[in-house]
Symmetry: C2
Subunit: 302 residues, 2 copies
């Protein structure tokens, strides 16, 4: 089925205690699109500058993404630069240069308005709403956001949240959004805002799904080595929505299909930190995926 | 079966953003003993001062603990005082008054040397070794420790670790003990030190069991309200060892019995933060326990 993602297509400069990589392919839409692993026809809506390398667009296309919705504009591509601490979890943002992304006005191509799944990656909630308005009733809408929008544009965020089926946030964002310390209370409060299903991402501690009928806690796969965790959350979303697409899920489907999607999101995301930027994701093949899914199930069965 | 625990029997003064409780029953041996829930004949080895209230000893005895190994000495009981931050996770230790605990020299009563399970709670590793030396080959030995001993008495700790079957530590301690950032590598390094099974406790993120054949990740039960998490780690240990005792496990048992014990440790520990000190633990009854075990299983089944 078809999956529309709107988000950043960007360059990341990432510094870890061991290595520094400059201007590598990044951005939420890029990670998401590659992470769908061909489980749906993924369509990318975004903008890049005239500095963006054709080979990076070719990489996305080579992974099955329709990149005809990525507009190229005069100026610089969105560029994020950050440095990880020794624990490879904490990080300092060194620079956020919006470039052409500052004036991003996503317009959904006519042929894409019937896309069956919509992932609104972490961009200004007013833009998320605008994209949502242009769609012809997708089967399911998932949304990511961040502390910046929770703090600065709460009304815009509330407006789009009311229309969303699945919210993906991390634990501190869930607490900030609701003012509730208990994740159980936070999830309930979020469900009252609109999304009937809430996923709380906890990085190396896994992710928790608050569904209609219950809660599923999925551990993160324990990695031998973490090279660069940038983008893991978007990879989770790509694996998750890709899984729902493959299953033909709708917003009214049973929790079971969402529980399976949680496993697929977790397995997909586990490859991300094993390489810089999208490199870990590119290592996924059927055998590696199946082995890791078996590992994950083994970790969950008492 | 019989379970010997050596550890602190103490008073805790706990301050939270909402309330302060002074000199309440605490200490690792107290939490552990109550948390075994009558699954084994638990024997407490410890020391208290002449300020220790008889009603607190009676409480332990009333929960089935044999307290004849708790010596009463002239002086003050061990007293810990701490203040929790708003997140109810971070805390500042305000005072640690060892009192009679400073000269604690545990001597295992002759009738207890045949105890089948031994839990060496978090005390000086040389004392842990001394107790171990006095035992007549228990079926299984579990040990808890902390950053203080990892930093200040590594040789003593290494000596006792070589004799232990199960180590329970938190994630930062596992990393500090081994110098390994990856929990997979840390667990492997610990297994090379002696314990064939390692449990890494992660508080609200649950606990991970590294066994002989695989890894089990158990989420923490999501609580509506956290009153006081003090002692939850010792409650986990009590539930865990109690479960092994009830099953008659030995150090050579299959992982399956340890996996079940992980669930029992998690369920037992989940009651602890719901009240001050041991009060949450005292709320456990069969129905509440069964309901929470079902909740936990539900959280783990995709």
């Amino acid at each position: 089925m078809s999956i529309l993602v709107v988000g950043s297509v960007a360059y990341d400069t990432v510094e870890t205690p061991r290595e520094k990589r400059e201007r590598q392919l990044g951005g939420s839409a890029s990670f998401f699109a590659i992470a769908t692993l061909g489980r749906g026809d993924v369509r990318c809506l975004g903008v890049v500058g005239d500095d963006f390398r054709q080979e990076d667009l070719d990489l996305l296309a080579g992974r099955g993404a329709d990149i005809s919705g990525i507009e190229r504009k005069p100026g610089k591509s969105f560029h994020w630069s950050g440095r990880y601490h020794d624990d490879m979890i904490e990080r300092d943002t060194l620079a956020t240069e919006l470039g052409v992304f500052a004036d991003f006005q996503p317009e959904v191509p006519a042929a894409w308005k019937d896309s069956e799944y919509l992932f609104l990656a972490n961009i200004h909630p007013a833009l998320q709403s605008h994209v949502m308005d242009e769609m012809n009733g997708p089967r399911l809408v998932a949304l990511d956001t961040m502390n910046l929008w929770i703090e600065t544009t709460p009304a815009d965020l509330a407006k789009i949240l009311a229309l969303v089926d699945v919210l993906l946030v991390n634990d501190s964002e869930a607490r900030q959004l609701t003012g509730k310390r208990s994740l159980a209370h936070a999830a309930k409060a979020i469900q009252a805002m609109g999304p009937s299903r809430v996923i709380v991402k906890k990085g190396e501690h896994g992710a928790v799904y608050f569904g209609r009928d219950g809660v599923l806690s999925v551990p993160a796969i324990i990695l031998d080595d973490v090279i660069d965790p940038t983008g893991a959350g978007d990879c989770f979303a790509g694996g998750f929505v890709g899984s729902l697409s493959e299953a033909g899920a709708t917003r009214d489907s049973d929790d079971a299909v969402f529980r399976q999607a949680m496993l697929d999101g977790t397995v997909t995301a586990s490859f991300c930190p094993e390489g810089f930027n999208v490199e870990g994701l590119l290592q996924i093949d059927d055998a590696a995926y199946a082995a890791r899914l078996a590992t994950l199930r083994g970790m969950m069965v008492p």
